[in-house]
């Protein structure tokens, strides 16, 4: 009962405190909102990149092209001896070979290997170009097929560039020419670089804006303490505890933090659904996660930033100002 009375008294005092110094309160609020919106926006963009990254098929694929067998060597291969080349080349580099497929499948992070023959490649190409495409006048699947057979390799989604390089090396060691092995390491690296850069910028902005927020809240609290120093002195003479003296200022800070969080969430919603999504949508194939996916985590993160800044900022300056 005693605690509840005191609690409501403090809430009232804290809210009064916000309006006692509206300029400082507004400044604290604005900087905190900026801090949250900037951080939140970056987080949302980064997460959308991640989601698209996973959805992007090409990234997790590798193609090993098979060269047509040179005419001259064909006889040699089907022939009797040539033990050297047989030992060196235990994998068939020119045609489908179960052993090759199994060896690739056995590599770490590889989840699937599909062989695509010259004919299948031709069919696929034909389909993508349409049956009246010009090349059909020149080429035929059986006679003079210009396309190459290939192994299409799919990686597990947690595969990183390092793994891909390793897989490429292992396949090259099987005898395949590195030039015949296509992967998307560059794209992969680019995406990772972009993500890394965005994360770095986001963290710096978060840090800088958070420090500014703290600084403003601290000054706001100090001004409040100063303008109420006589009141505080009286409180202490009549036996107020330190926490009683502190409470309204801390509540003031926390309320500003929570109000900032609510405003930031609203702005973020608008930014995300109207602005960011609109911009991203121009790059077709990219999928945008719905805002509701982020609602809970953003609310918690914003509330956390707000409460932490409010608590920390006010407590520090009370400590510095009052030797309570």
């Amino acid at each position: 009962m005693k605690l509840i009375n005191t609690f409501f008294f403090h809430i009232g005092q804290g809210i009064k405190g916000i309006f006692r110094n509206p300029i400082m309160s507004t400044a604290s609020l604005l900087v905190l909102v900026c801090c949250m919106v900037v951080t939140g926006t970056f987080a949302l963009i980064i997460d959308n990149i991640n989601k698209n990254f996973e959805a992007l098929d090409d990234v997790n694929k590798m193609i090993v092209w098979l060269d047509d067998a040179p005419e001259a060597e064909e006889g040699e291969e089907s022939g009797e001896s040539a033990e050297e080349s047989k030992e060196e080349n235990e994998y068939n580099l020119h045609e489908y070979d179960k052993k090759t497929e199994d060896a690739i499948k056995a590599l770490e992070h590889v989840v699937d290997v599909v062989f695509m023959s010259k004919q299948e490649a031709f069919e696929e190409f034909k389909q993508s170009e349409g049956s009246d495409a010009e090349f059909l006048d020149w080429f035929d699947a059986e006679e003079n097929n210009p396309l190459r057979a290939s192994y299409r390799i799919t990686f597990a989604s947690d595969t990183d560039t390092e793994n891909i390089r390793y897989i490429k090396k292992a396949i090259a060691e099987m005898g395949f020419n590195e030039e015949n092995i296509d992967e998307n390491i560059d794209l992969y690296d680019n995406l990772i670089n972009v993500k890394g850069a965005l994360t770095t910028i986001a963290l710096w902005l978060l840090a800088v804006l958070f420090v500014i927020s703290l600084f403003i809240i601290m000054n706001s609290t100090r001004l409040g303490l100063h303008s109420r120093r006589e009141e505080i002195q009286i409180m202490r003479y009549v036996g107020a505890t330190n926490s009683f003296v502190r409470a309204p200022f801390v509540i003031e800070g926390v309320v500003i933090g929570l109000v900032s969080a609510a405003i930031a969430l609203g702005i973020e919603y608008y930014l995300y659904t109207q602005v960011i999504s609109g911009v991203i949508r121009q790059y077709e194939a990219i999928v945008i996660a719905p805002f509701t996916d982020y609602l809970l985590v953003l609310s918690i993160a914003f509330a956390f930033i707000g409460v932490f800044a409010g608590l920390f900022g006010s407590v520090i300056s009370i400590r510095k100002y009052l030797k309570v």
């Binding site: 009375n5 005191t6 008294f9 009286i234 409180m235 003479y237 009549v238 036996g239």
Partner: protein, 242 residues
């Protein structure tokens, strides 16, 4: 009981405000503290509410060992002592009622308790009819009575008044002293720092005289009026204080 044993208080800048003070004040006693400006009277009141700490010696107030009192115990100590200042220290933007109620809120009293106790204390100091007024529209004597009501509202054992009539017309001062006498009869220890020798002589209570940080005389209440102070001392004090 208040007990000081060989207490000294030296300010951080080296001012030795009190030196080797030995003093005992029993429960429910009424004590005047007199002395020239700068003698150390206010410092003594500050020690009593732990606003300043003793530099040397031992000091006890009821169960509180003041010379080694932990910070967190200070609020509890202050709730057993009511302070009254020369400059009143009231909230001018709060009504008389709110000023007194504030002291109860600070200690977490229930609203129902506050509603009962504040009017009672206000009528005790004769201000029941001014409950809704604001202090800055009231006379010095009335304002000091608000301050006394606030000091009294949490029912402390001790009331300390540091020159309570210093800013009050002499005619009004009498009422303040009368009030303090009345409160003393409610089983409260009263310590009054004052320059008002007429009142000190009139009431015939124990008088502690401080000079230069030392207690130079401690005169108990007598049946006969206390001997008058030397005349030159009177003049000096009045001149110095204004």
């Amino acid at each position: 009981m208040i007990e000081l044993k060989n207490v000294s208080m030296i300010y951080p800048n080296g001012n030795a405000a009190l030196r080797n003070i030995d003093l005992t004040i029993e429960d429910n006693e009424f004590v005047f503290v007199v002395g020239q400006s700068g003698a150390g009277k206010t410092t003594l009141t500050k020690l009593l509410i732990a606003e300043e700490r003793v530099s040397d010696g031992e000091m006890y107030i009821n169960d509180f060992r003041m010379h080694r009192l932990r910070r967190y115990k200070i609020p509890k100590l202050r709730r057993s002592i009511g302070m009254v200042f020369q400059d009143f220290r009231l909230f001018d933007n709060k009504t008389v009622y709110e000023n007194v109620a504030f002291a109860m809120r600070v200690v977490g009293a229930r609203p129902s308790e506050i509603k009962k106790r504040v009017p009672h204390v206000l009528s005790l100091v004769g201000l029941a009819h001014r409950a809704k007024s604001y202090p800055d529209k009231m006379s010095g004597g009335e304002r000091q009575r608000i301050a006394i009501a606030r000091a009294l509202v949490n029912n402390p054992d001790i009331i300390i008044a540091d020159e309570p009539t210093g800013n009050i017309d002499p005619e009004m001062s009498k009422a303040i002293f009368e009030l303090l006498m009345r409160i003393n009869k409610m089983d409260k220890t009263i310590i009054v720092v004052t320059h008002d020798h007429n009142m000190v002589n009139y009431y015939n209570k124990r008088v502690i005289k401080i000079e230069n940080g030392h207690i130079v005389s401690d005169t108990p209440a007598k049946a006969a009026p206390a001997p008058a102070e030397p005349e030159h001392a009177d003049k000096e004090e009045e001149g110095a204080e204004q």
